[in-house]
Symmetry: C2
Subunit: 205 residues, 2 copies
DNA sequence: CACAATTATGACGTGGCGTCAATTTTTTAC
DNA sequence: GTAAAAAATTGACGCCACGTCATAATTGTG
């Protein structure tokens, strides 16, 4: 026949597997946004799909694992952006600014997807979500490289990476509370603070 | 009778009420530490006390509410410490160091219970309890005052307060992962970073 | 002491959890 | 193309936590 051989590369088995997984993830995203992560149940998620309850457990072991898969998804999209920011940067300063800018842009988009004004949404990202681990590893690597090249002082790289994550999280959340969120200003603040401390942070007049 | 009139100020009713509430909170603290926030159930908590399951609901509506009460409690104890650090400090530098040191000491004590890693002791979704907001305001006031007196540059005080909180949270968590946790070193790092950025952070040799 | 008010108790109905034997769907072998 | 094998789906099942509520116990009051 002619019309049967157009769907993607693989066999049917693999295709429906991917489709089911995607359906569950999409349903979970909607459910988490609508009723909140805590209140959501595996049943709430699976009910939003065509699948039976038992099928859920062929794909994920728990609600937590779905959340992590969603976060992984975010990290997978975000990490190359961060990596590019590092590779394109001509200095450590430029890298930091680019990294913060990338992160702030990312959370603005991530929060824009789900409808409803930004201010009404609860802050949601977990501390050790893969997104954050990606930030940690990138900043850590960038810093290690900068130190090796003598472009940055020999500080505690672990603490510094953690500090950057904390700044990104909290300043990012604060930025989202303002309307419209100014990504560039927030990035300038964060990078300036890290690079030169209070003296390096932009003045406010 | 003689021996009856020694227990605290109030009537029996109020006393057992406070005792029960305290017992639930203590049990919850232990349970969260031991098995992690997500895995813990209301039954796990109440089973650690002498009380019946229904009694739990005379005091809290849910596991989430217990967590918020614990967080509120922590913030209520911490806020005066922070205030004292501000009033005793002779310079902005000293204030920052004192504040970070106070916070790091606080969380070391607060996490003295053995059990699951710190990240698992809290909910995935961030909670902004009124008392947490109060801590933000205290930090914010300290920064505003410093800026008004010309002891700190005129930066975005909201962002700066958020950044300090983020640094405190993440560097604090990193500190707890090390053994033994070095409060003074962590405080020196955090304060140095905020005051002078990378150049101000302690060198690591 | 009697009575009212308050709090504690634990059994109960509801519903989610994760499992698993049975069934359906897809692949493989002939 | 068909039959057997492999894989995935299904939904009912037993279990347990949830939050409630009638009842019992305790405490305050006159």
């Amino acid at each position: 026949m002619s019309e049967a051989a157009l769907a993607e590369p693989a066999g049917k088995r693999e295709r429906t597997k991917l489709a089911n997984r995607a359906a569950i993830l999409a349903a979970a995203r909607a459910v988490f946004a609508q009723m909140g992560y805590e209140a959501a149940s595996v049943r709430d998620i699976i009910r939003r799909t065509e699948l039976a309850s038992g099928t859920f457990y062929n794909y994920f072991r728990s609600k937590e694992e779905v959340f992590e898969a969603l976060a992984d998804d975010g990290a997978r999209r975000f990490k190359p952006v961060l990596r590019a920011a590092r590779e394109n940067a001509k200095s450590f300063t430029e890298y930091l600014k680019g990294a913060f800018h990338a992160y702030f842009s990312f959370i603005v988009e991530d929060n824009a997807l789900e409808g409803r004004p930004i201010e009404e949404r609860r802050p949601h990202v977990r501390v050790d979500t893969p997104e954050m681990i990606a930030v940690y590893q990138e900043v850590r690597q960038g810093l290690d490289a900068a130190i090796a090249k003598g472009m940055a002082p020999k500080v505690d790289a672990d603490y510094l990476a953690c500090a950057c994550i904390g700044i990104a999280q909290e300043v990012g959340a604060a930025m989202l509370r303002r309307s419209p969120p100014d990504v560039t200003a927030a990035a300038a603040f964060a990078a300036g603070l890290v690079l030169k401390g209070l003296e390096g942070a932009p003045r406010k007049d």
